[in-house]
Symmetry: C2
Subunit: 355 residues, 2 copies
DNA sequence: AAGTTGTATGTAATCGATTACATCAAGCGT
DNA sequence: ACGCTTGATGTAATCGATTACATACAACTT
């Protein structure tokens, strides 16, 4: 025999936990291991009597199949990788919960990878998937793993099922779950215009980001629809974070001629921006109206409460997980799912002063 | 032979990805698989020449060890389970990031389980750990898996290394990483008193929660130190959520005699409470001072900016992960690590009006 | 020179499931 | 009654690593 057999794992006072193996169940139920395996995988192919005996033996022994052995043989991990750019970002947490819920119900576990802007980590996770640690992946980061934003990727070749969530991945032939960012942004501009605003600033997301591009397009669509010219002076750079929102606020405060409304492409930026405006003695919405995007929890309790675009985050997560599961189990999957957004009107937007 | 050999995974247009196996590396390097394995695990036990050949073969083939096979044989998963009560709670995200960072550097992956208050899920994850899917677990939920808050648990018997983070687990002989909630709460009360407050309300966490118990003790400690009587009337129930903070705000608004300061045991409650007060026409801090606990990102940008207790969340996560890794690798681990908190003074607390 | 020790490597058992294939009995058509 | 299908079950190969044990050889001792 090998080694010390079933030695305790660490030290003598830890009871030597013997987990039941399929052999133990088979012996107890007086069947072969094949039958036990079949009871779990394809119960209809086992006689009722044998099935009952096996089930009883499983209950008695507390048998749980060893996932490593199962994976090794069947090449299925029942694990899904979720790749996201920043775990600490509020926006993702509710999405993650939606994903987790749906995966859990289907018997899948979730492994999270926070890319953290590090190519090194990305390479690691590319290897991760390649090594067969997961059956599939949900990508929230807007590009394939191991692929530069514009270059050729390796993840597609890895050949595990992928689903893109929120940030569509151009050119990738995988299911995309998203909202209509462009239409939602246009909608917001129209709302601001309907309140009487004519000088509307735009606080952008990070350059190159697909959400940013779509929302920016929507911003311009909105201006066009209401017959306003696009003024590059009114575009303020941001990157979706609170800090960049505060910086954008400084930018505004420093201006001689200020816009009457500011459309921030994330709630975090809107809240940061409002903070700066208020600290500088400007009032929202009396002096400047502010609108956000996402409808995170804090949007409703900000002061003033934030007018924004509601994204069904939990549902987005659920839909992505469901799509991936369909893919994994060989069911047909729509290539694109678009969930509805909603304009949420709160106190941070009001008609401009008419003086 | 078995089945269809190395058939493509899904459909014919997916290139049949052949991942290199240890055999392939061994053949290419003209050594046995044992030597390849040793190069990876104990390079010092392999001659320099053989090692070089193997390394080259690994690079050439892009070999990555199959984790399922490795786990099956060695009983090590290089996976850690993180159990938390609510993934959607802002408070946890930065902690998770700290955990992930440290685990990643040590070559461990992270599986997240959102308990979501469901005993069913808990049972599932107890089985999860029992089945050997993870080497260890970090518990943020304040009790052992599969154990009721006061009852006997099964997780301890499962025998995998555990670490408790934030919510100490009384009676469990495992490393606990936390802050001194009691001292921090007392500190805040003293700060409020130093500003001149004498009627200080307390918005509690969920009943029975260990954080709540400690902070409540600290609240009473603080009162005692400054010679104020404890008044049960000034305790308002909450559960750490924004919503409960808003409800607590209603409670205050409805009172004839209001406290001059409110200490909320979470920032989320403080922000919700301020929302309600402001909506009711009360001013913060002019009419009521408000203090929080945690120092989440939004505390600094709230209006008014929130005075609170800063918790080093990332560091807490890192410390917990490091402790678990020590445990997993057989190094000695301190039974209790307490990280420092800091009182962050912002605008939401001011001296009470003297009229 | 024989014995001892140590180092490097190979051989093959092993981890615990899944599953292709073999076997066997019962049911059925003719 | 004979062959054939169908259904239930068992046997054993297999997944891809790790690692106990065996072996081979070089370097020292005495």
């Amino acid at each position: 025999m090998d080694e010390a057999g079933q030695a305790e794992r660490r030290d003598p006072d830890t009871p030597p936990v013997r987990v039941a193996r399929i052999q133990d169940v088979a012996r107890l139920a007086e069947v072969s291991t094949a039958t036990v395996s079949r009871v779990l995988a394809t119960p209809e192919r086992v006689s009722a009597e044998a099935r009952a005996r096996v089930m009883e033996a499983i209950a008695k022994t507390g048998y749980v199949p060893n996932p490593a052995a199962r994976t090794l043989r069947s090449q299925k991990t029942y694990m899904v990788l979720v790749v996201l750019p920043d775990l600490a970002n509020t926006f993702f947490s509710k999405i993650l919960r939606g994903i987790e819920e749906t995966l859990f119900e289907a018997g899948y576990g979730m492994i999270i990878s926070d890319l953290d802007g590090s190519p090194e980590k990305e390479a690691h996770f590319a290897a991760f998937t390649a090594a067969g640690r997961v059956d599939g992946a949900i990508l929230l980061n807007g590009h394939l793993i191991g692929q530069s934003r514009d270059g050729e990727g390796s993840a597609a070749r890895i050949g595990i099922p992928l689903v893109a969530l929120c940030e569509a991945i151009p050119g990738a032939d995988i299911p995309q779950i998203e909202i209509d960012n462009r239409a939602a942004a246009a909608h917001m501009v129209q709302h601001l215009a309907a309140q009487g605003h004519r000088r509307i600033a735009y606080v952008s997301g990070p350059a190159g980001n697909i959400l940013e591009r779509e929302r920016f397009q929507g911003f311009k669509d909105g201006l066009e629809k209401i017959g306003l010219p696009f003024d590059p002076e009114l575009v303020i750079p941001g990157d979706f974070t609170i800090e960049s929102g505060m910086a954008a606020g400084q930018n505004l405060v420093a201006r001689a001629v200020r816009p009457t409304a500011v459309f921030c492409t994330s709630d975090e930026m809107a809240i940061g921006l409002m903070r700066t405006l208020l600290s500088a003695g400007l009032r929202v919405p009396e002096d400047v109206s502010v609108a956000g995007f996402d409808d995170i929890e804090f949007a409703a309790v900000a002061e003033p409460a934030l007018t924004t675009i509601h994204q069904p985050r939990r549902e987005l997560g659920q839909a992505a997980a469901a799509a991936l599961i369909d893919l994994l189990q060989g069911r047909p999957t729509p290539k694109r799912i678009r969930l509805e957004t909603e304009l949420v009107v709160r106190a941070s937007v009001a008609p401009p002063r008419t003086n």
